[in-house]
Amino acid sequence: MSEETEISVFDILIKIDDNTWEVPIGYKAGMHVPGRIFVSGHLLGILEKETIDQVANVAMLPGIQKYSMAMPDAHLGYGFSIGGVAAFDKENGIISPGGVGFDINCGVRLIRTNLLENDVRPKLSQLLDDLFEAIPTGVGSKSRLRVSDAELDDIFINGVQWAVDKGYGVKEDLDHCESGGKIPGADPSKVSAKARKRGRPQLGTLGSGNHFLEVQYVDEIYDEELASVFGLHKGQVTFMIHCGSRGAGHQICTDHLQVLTQASRKYNIALPDKQLACAPAQSPEAQDYFKAMLCAANYAWVNRHVIMHWTREVFEKTFAEEFGDLGMHLVYDVAHNIAKLEEHTVDGKKTEVYVHRKGATRAFSPGHPDLPDDYRVTGQPVIIPGSMGTASYVLCGTKESMEISFGSACHGAGRVMSRKSAKSELHGEQVREELSLKGIQVRASQPSLIAEEAPEVYKSSSEVVDVVHDLGIAKKVAKLLPMGVIKG
């Protein structure tokens, strides 16, 4: 980052408090509401000016409520910034694929075990090899699971329920998935033949890029009471899955982006960036996208669910016990690229809004009716993956998140270095060696991927998490450290 950029970022923004910075309404002509960027002063110093422009662009879209927001892990995206959150009025607002992204319902799932770090270390190498073998990873990988067109419809409509009916996982898993692993209203007739073709062979595949599987252990507990409800305790081994809707979701977004680009013209919506193509929320174009997007969201939950199932099988083989006896329960599964119709309080009135979270996690408060019974007292688990080799965190939603950020928090560490620079400055084998010295084993389809995803290319996950904790929009519960990572 040049010094010029740093100065201009601080020149643009108005400091509200230590972790809240406002993009004033006049920063760009046509902003309906101010922007709010939730970052510490230090994180703001590494924020690109273009990210602020993207926050301002979103503030220009019709029917936006309160603020156009960005979480502390914000960085340059397309359309919305990554880390962008915005809510639009159900009647007078819009729906935009640019506020969801191509990887619809990219998200994270955390599974706990009753194994301890020392139980797993001696078998870690074999465990990782077997997981790498069992779960297809990398560019162009195909699943050993093939589904028919009729089954694909069932998956689009019924999400994780389909998987449980088929014998993948157990009924209890449904409760510990955001939206029960299935958002109603998905309509497979809005999904193109192309998206179906990409979706059929890819269920249970990890993909590539920042997606990963990780064997971790609980390094620190911040809140014993909350942690015990989530079934977490110090020294315990956990497993994390980070991936999304694969080709099905990418194609659904691509297809509908074309339609919505034309719809923006039809409805005379001035777009500051073509990637913000949108349509009035209740228009047929926006609703068609929304119903197709829900198909991809449900598909993504099944994808992570099938991967969890195969993970349980590998653990069963390695430790010669049933997964139930190994205590391999799903802690929770969160989406971090999604748009949802939710009820929120705006200006003291309960109102329905389309909340877009692009690289942001839902963080509902204790008592929220959408939470399962056992988590209603704690608030929703918020799972924040770290980058390769750094800590991940479990937090939980708070009352403040409902007031400040439409029930949302950050989603990860956030990149600071491009893949291009990472590949020229870092070497995959060297990064692998450094991680190995820290006790972290890596499996990857290509060494260059290890360089592209090295710890140095991300912001510090702990710094990002501290901002949401200090703001009060999510509360720290536990810190997880990696032991073994699988990269696609």
Binding site: H75, G77, G79, D103, G140, K194, L257, D273, K420
Partner: protein, 143 residues
């Protein structure tokens, strides 16, 4: 053209500029730029040819469709590409139209060197411009 394409700095995604003496050539080089994010095209041989025909209301839409179609064919046909040939790029009264071939072979994980998956083409900061040397295309793809 000395340089067919180059990658620009972008924190999260891959942004590139592709050049060509003709618009057809710039479209070809944009496809090389995108595809080389995923796979080293020099490790692929051009054994089979896949025909692609597309239309769009505007030139940006045509580029978006072109890059999206290559990703689609790559994934569903399991084809890795070595070469892109845009045979015709024309404009009639309603539409822009492209007729092209993508040449490659079936994906072979033992021989082909893969990089990062490109999830999709985007319209973000897309530019298609005439230059003194011909044409310049700037595009960002989601990785």
């Amino acid at each position: 053209m000395d340089k067919r394409y180059e990658y620009l700095e972008h924190t999260a995604d891959a942004r590139f500029r592709a050049y060509g003496e003709s618009l057809e050539e710039a479209f070809e080089n944009a496809a090389y730029a995108m595809f080389n994010v995923m796979i080293d095209t020099s490790t692929v041989s051009a054994e089979t040819s896949y025909e692609i025909e597309l239309t769009s209301e505007d030139i940006e839409g045509l580029l978006f469709n072109w890059l999206s179609e290559i990703l689609f064919v790559f994934e569903v046909e399991s084809l890795a590409f070595a070469k892109f040939a845009v045979d015709r790029l024309e404009q009639d009264k309603d539409n822009f139209r492209l007729v092209a071939r993508a040449l490659g072979e079936e994906i072979d994980l033992s021989r082909h060197r893969f990089g990062t998956e490109v999830k999709a083409a985007t319209y973000n900061d897309m530019r298609i411009e005439r230059t003194p040397e011909g044409w310049m295309i700037q595009a960002t793809v989601d990785t």
